[in-house]
């Protein structure tokens, strides 16, 4: 039996559809519509906003300053996604080919941080990366060690260790975003690799390809949908990230979400903030559209 036509059982259909439709319209579509309308408005006085149909907010968003912030957000998100892919792919492989006994525990190990509060994880990283945190102490110890080895072989010792600034800069933002988003990448990769037909890998190895070549020529093309899914699942939240750049970034590492937040808190320019929000949403839609176009190409061939 396939899906039932809604007319065949109107009572049940009403019972399951009305609550859902009510909620999604009232508490999702209406708020979104309000943002969309406000993006065509202008400030009249301190609290009054006139929806005049102006495009000034969008024009202002194309100013060089905001374009660079959009560009930078994309660059940071893309870099974070790439690093997550490089770190996450071997992990996903390891989980896929782990023994029955270990696999669920490894998965749990990846998922547990994902369930832990984002703010707590960011705070934990901040503690570690601070000028007196363990990361700096570790680097300091390495530095001292190299210095000692150099004196041992009769060279000049290195100058004394100065703690490096690991926090409140672009490096910290990328590091923090990778830390937060790594589970997002590993889980879809694992889901794709798990469905893979292992005999194809065995065939490739039997026919003389090395492990690296097998991975590049067999595993990666077959797992492509999962890789694309992982990339999207990592890229989209990284692009809209607020907390990490806010807490771990410096003055020059603001991302688009921080600019939006400022319009609603300090700058008090709601229409402009609304326009930026919708530009961010359009960017997401564009990314998703590119992804679905990519999916259709092999079918055409």
């Amino acid at each position: 039996m396939a899906e039932q036509d809604w007319k065949a059982n109107k009572g049940v259909f009403a019972a399951v559809s009305l609550p859902t439709l009510f909620w999604i319209i009232l508490f999702f579509l209406v708020p979104m519509a309000i943002v969309w309308l406000y993006s065509f408005g202008e400030n009249k006085g301190l609290t009054e906003i006139d929806i005049s149909g102006t495009l000034d907010n969008y024009k202002r968003a194309t100013e060089w300053l905001y374009l660079t912030i959009f560009g930078k957000s994309f660059a940071v998100a893309a870099l974070v996604t790439l690093i997550c892919l490089i770190i996450g792919f071997p992990v996903a492989m390891a989980i896929t080919f782990a023994s029955e006994k270990w696999r669920p525990w490894l998965l749990l190990g990846i998922m547990l941080p994902f369930w832990t509060n984002l703010l707590i994880r960011t705070y934990a990283l901040m503690m570690l990366l601070g000028t007196q945190g363990f990361a700096n102490k570790g680097l300091g110890a390495l530095w001292e060690g190299t210095s000692w080895i150099k004196t041992l072989v009769g060279l000049q010792p290195l100058p004394t260790w100065e703690p490096v600034q690991l926090l409140f800069n672009n490096f910290a933002v990328v590091f923090g975003l990778v830390y937060v988003h790594l589970p997002f990448m590993v889980l879809p990769l694992y889901a794709a690799l798990d469905r893979l037909d292992r005999s194809l890998i065995e065939a490739s190895l039997d026919l003389g390809a090395g492990h690296f070549r097998t991975i590049m020529r067999i595993v990666v093309p077959l797992a492509a949908p999962g890789i694309v899914a992982g990339v999207m699942i990592t890229l989209i939240p990284a692009l809209g990230a607020y907390l990490t750049p806010d807490l771990m970034g410096g003055t020059d590492s603001q991302m688009i979400a921080n600019v939006i937040e400022r319009q609603f808190k300090k700058a008090n320019d709601w229409p402009f903030g609304a326009a930026l929000s919708f530009l961010l949403i359009y960017a997401m839609f564009a990314l998703i559209a590119i992804q679905s176009m990519r999916k259709k190409v092999p079918e055409v061939r």
Binding site: Q4, I24, P104, L108, Q132, L187, E202, G240, L243
Partner: protein, 280 residues
């Protein structure tokens, strides 16, 4: 390599090769080391929280004696519990609607329900800020009704996840069971309660865990929807972190981490590690 291998490593046993083990080990250290350090330093007897100065539990007393922090934690747990209950009902009902019926504009409805997952948090937060301002949502209600705005916002981004999980579970449902129940005289409601609900129970447990943690975790959307009197735990911790890094934050964070781990293990006890892992 011979260090661990008792039997020779088969070609596909990638996870038994040494470099793979090192890689996975390094990633696990990367993921867990910051959290473990945070938990250890919650017992540190030092205000500045950078050098270990001896063991103490006084910051737990301080955190639990901080009325604002405790109130924020209670608020967060209340919101998470309410949001989970409503999300479960709404999410399950939406999943049944999409699974069972064919109706006009179905793909549009389907897409709209998954939109809150895709739309960036910041945009959703902004939308709720504007929405609650536009409808003049009352802000001076007594507890727990003053948490209404935040709870509504949380339900909106939690229930699509429940729908997703329940729907994938429903795909494995054998409709003949439903027909058999009906042949034996069960009403629609009885079929739903006695046949469908037991089948989707693992998805409901996973969905509940997901909703609860998503709600407890959320900072951005809450930050935009909370009033001055409705502080949640992440919002409170955020202001504490901005202000200064104290062991009190570590102590409070440790309590929340333990709560998360405990919840996960309750879910595991109910469903087993495999079922939970597979729903993601």
């Amino acid at each position: 390599m011979a260090l661990f291998a008792r039997t020779p490593v088969a070609p596909l046993e990638y996870s038994r090769t040494l470099w793979m083990r090192l890689w996975v080990g390094a990633v696990m250290v990367f993921l867990y080391a910051p959290l473990i350090v945070l938990m250890i330093f919650s017992f540190n007897d030092s205000k500045r929280n950078v050098v270990w100065r001896g063991f103490t539990t006084k910051y737990y007393e301080k955190a639990l004696g901080n009325d604002q922090l405790v109130e924020a934690l209670i608020n967060s747990l209340t919101i998470a519990a309410l949001a989970t209950i409503v999300s479960l009902v709404l999410g399950a009902v939406a999943a049944v609607m999409l699974w069972r019926f064919r109706f006009p504009l179905k793909s549009a409805v389907d897409g709209t329900i998954s939109l809150p997952i895709i739309v960036p948090e910041i945009c959703l937060g902004v939308a709720f800020l504007m929405f609650f301002a536009a409808v003049n949502w009352p802000t001076d209600l007594i507890w727990p009704f003053n948490l209404g705005a935040i709870t509504v916002a949380h339900i909106t981004f939690c229930f699509p996840f429940v729908t997703m999980v329940v729907r994938s579970r429903l795909a494995t449902f054998n409709r003949e069971q439903e027909e058999a129940a009906k042949d034996l005289g069960a009403s629609e409601w009885q079929v739903f309660r006695d046949v469908l609900i037991p089948h989707i129970k693992p998805a409901l447990v996973a969905g509940a865990l997901l909703s609860f943690t998503l709600s407890l975790d959320d900072f951005v959307i809450t930050y935009f929807t909370s009033g001055p009197d409705t502080i949640t735990f992440p919002v409170k911790v955020y202001s504490m972190v901005r202000f200064s890094v104290t062991p009190e934050v570590n102590a409070a964070s440790t309590l929340l981490i333990i709560l998360t781990v405990a919840l996960t293990f309750v879910a595991l006890k109910l469903q087993g590690v495999k079922a939970i892992a597979e729903t993601h």
